[in-house]
């Protein structure tokens, strides 16, 4: 009884602090100099798609206008490479990705490029210039980039035949890193 009573005694104090906290939350939204720790993430998944998690489904179209979604690639490993035509490190790694893609059909995996923050004309020119041999999807409204939490290309996700992410490479990938990642999705380069 004493415990209940002391809890009740603390109630006014608790409610007062609740109001104070509420005011603080409202105020920090208006005044960054008061509190610099307000972060809300209403859009996009709350955690980055990580190793061991299912790949986030997407619906895009390729440069040729064909549908490109995760289901299309289900059943065999998929290398999902986010890039942009204006991005230096993307251009640096692209010959390696292209070389990998040239062996995809024989070795039983797929490579899909996802162009982010880019337009059809620029990406078409890029694909033509570098002679890309794998399909390119256009993420024109940045929905897939956000779903995969890409803050800047390049980024490459290695997804197994069951749609589980087995490795993630942020930034330009090296040949060694690529070999290592391909082993994790059940194939070798």
């Amino acid at each position: 009884m004493k415990t209940v009573s002391s809890r009740m005694d603390r109630l006014p104090l608790f409610l007062s602090f609740s109001w104070l906290a509420l005011f603080c939350i409202v105020d920090i939204d208006l005044n960054p100099s008061v509190c610099q720790a307000q972060h809300v993430h209403p859009a996009g998944p709350s955690v980055a798609p990580s190793v061991g998690a299912p790949a986030v489904p997407f619906e895009l179209k390729t440069l040729e206008g064909k549908p490109a979604n995760l289901e299309t690639f289900r059943g065999k490993p998929l290398v999902l490479n986010f890039f942009a035509s204006w991005c230096d490190p993307c251009r640096d790694e692209m010959p390696l990705i292209n070389e990998l893609a040239s062996k995809a059909a024989i070795q039983g995996f797929s490579v899909l490029g996802v162009a982010v923050e880019d337009g059809r004309a620029a990406v078409t020119e890029f694909a033509r210039e570098i002679k890309l041999v794998f399909p390119i999807a256009l993420d024109l409204n940045s929905t897939v980039k956000r779903a995969y939490r890409i803050f800047g290309p390049p980024a490459t996700f290695f997804i197994d035949g069951q749609g589980i992410i087995r490795d993630v490479a942020l930034g330009p990938i090296t040949a060694e890193r690529l070999r290592e990642a391909m082993k994790k999705v059940g194939t070798t380069k």
Binding site: W19, R120, P154
Partner: protein, 441 residues
């Protein structure tokens, strides 16, 4: 128990009253920055040609100018033979050719002159973070810089182009400013108070030991080259715009950029010249954000100088962990020797690289614009102002209502006329949007 509840309600009411009254006091405070009242959206350029990447600047005669890119009207979709590789292209691919267009407004952005083509040749004028920029001489002569891909179509090894008002209503033929071809992009231009245009860009002519240098060239008022290309910094972020400000009649030049160290940590720095941009001192770190990222953030800082010589900078960083990500602001009270602790202007509402721009009012009010995601997951343009006291921020205002995404806001300000322009994209379509407000100060 009833007494306790009554007490708690009274206490809560007291806090409520205290909270409201402090807001009321703040509203009466002259330093309190208040929200801006913006006019309707004005669309810049030919809507059929996907205008994008607007940049704004007032000319000395008080006309507001906008420069942006549009699809090249004379370039139909390409009909190239099928390439030899097995990546099939459609029969009629869109053309990457884009044109830089310029227009002016004599009524604060309400109506616009007929747009004028800047680049005479058909070129793939670059946009996004790398769009064309215009600056003006005291006699209102316009100078324009932009970037085009290198000879092989490589956007990352590009060229900086320059053209100027030819005095007959058009523009001079463009010429390339970087002496080493296929190595330069992200140009900015300012006309120094001595009347000489100063152009800076990120250069890739040397890749070792520190890739990506800051290069400059000075022109004379007639557009002739006064200097060779010269290097003033190195280790710049590969794909982020630069910022520049002047003082002391052009003797002092401040430049901001994002720098990358050997561990791929990207912090923003200020470089200061006291000899009219001939040489620059060592970079001064604006904030030790510790953003380690091996990829391309594609979002550079912005700088402004107020009447008291304070330097104001805004930028985007993800910081040391994702929850830190957002638009930040800092100020230097000692002419760039050091910067105050950063202030968070707006936290990231989603995993997204944000773009910011900042401008300083005549009364030293700071106007910051940026992109961030709204509650529906669409990128929109937001603004807030910092009062001259350097402490009082206005509430965050959403300026755009884009159906798709809005990004890369730019600002222009003359006396009480403030303008914000940005690019909206929705699928494959884009448009350049402008909104204006009269500031109270």
């Amino acid at each position: 128990m009833k007494t306790s509840l009554t007490k708690s309600l009274w206490t809560a009411a007291c806090f409520l009253i205290a909270g409201c009254s402090s807001d009321l006091v703040a509203e009466r405070d002259d330093n309190r920055a208040t929200p801006l009242s913006f006019g309707p959206e004005i669309h810049i350029g030919d809507a059929e040609l996907n205008p994008s990447t607007p940049f704004l600047r007032y000319a000395p005669d008080a006309r507001l100018f906008a420069i942006w890119t549009e699809d090249e009207p004379s370039q139909p979709p390409q009909t190239r033979p099928a390439p030899s590789h097995n990546h099939k292209m459609s029969d009629r691919d869109p053309s990457p050719m884009r044109t830089a267009m310029l227009a002016s407004s004599a009524d604060g952005g309400k109506t616009w002159s007929k747009r004028k083509r800047v680049n005479r040749d058909i070129e793939a004028v670059q946009g996004e973070e790398n769009g064309p920029k215009v600056a003006f001489a005291a006699n209102n002569r316009a100078y324009v810089v932009w970037s085009i891909p290198g000879e092989k179509g490589d956007k990352t090894r590009a060229n900086v182009r320059f053209a100027m008002d030819d005095g007959n209503g058009g523009f001079s033929p463009a010429r390339t400013l970087n002496e080493v071809k296929d190595a330069a992009r992200f140009p900015i231009i300012e006309v120094a108070p001595d009347g000489n245009p100063l152009i800076a860009w990120i250069d890739r002519r040397i890749d070792n030991p520190k890739p990506r240098q800051l290069y400059l060239v000075r022109l004379d008022p007639s557009g002739e080259t006064r200097t060779k290309n010269y290097q003033t910094g190195e280790g710049l972020c590969e794909c982020c715009k630069l910022g520049i400000a002047f003082a002391d009649g052009g003797k002092t030049v401040y430049m901001v950029d994002r720098e990358v160290d050997g561990n791929k940590i990207r912090n923003h720095v200020l470089r200061k010249s006291t000899d009219g941009a001939t040489s620059f001192g060592p970079p001064v770190e604006i904030s030790n954000d510790g953003w380690q990222v091996p990829s391309c953030p594609h979002s550079g800082p912005s700088i402004g100088r107020d009447s008291n010589g304070r330097l104001h900078v805004s930028w985007f960083t993800l910081g040391r962990s994702e929850p830190e990500a957002g638009i930040y602001y800092s100020v230097s009270h000692d002419d760039g020797k050091s910067f105050a602790a950063r202030q968070l202007v707006h936290a990231n509402t989603a995993p997204e690289t944000l773009y910011t721009n900042l401008i300083v009012g005549e009364d030293d009010t700071i106007y910051v614009a940026w992109s961030n995601l709204d509650g529906n997951g669409k990128a929109q343009i937001f603004m807030r102002t910092l009062a001259p006291d350097g402490k009082s921020w206005s509430p965050i205002q959403q300026i755009s209502r884009a159906k798709g995404n809005a990004s890369r806001p730019v600002l222009a300000l003359l006396k009480k006329q403030l303008h914000v322009a940005w690019t909206e994209t929705d699928g494959e379509a884009s448009r350049a949007v402008l909104r204006s407000a009269t500031v109270n100060r």
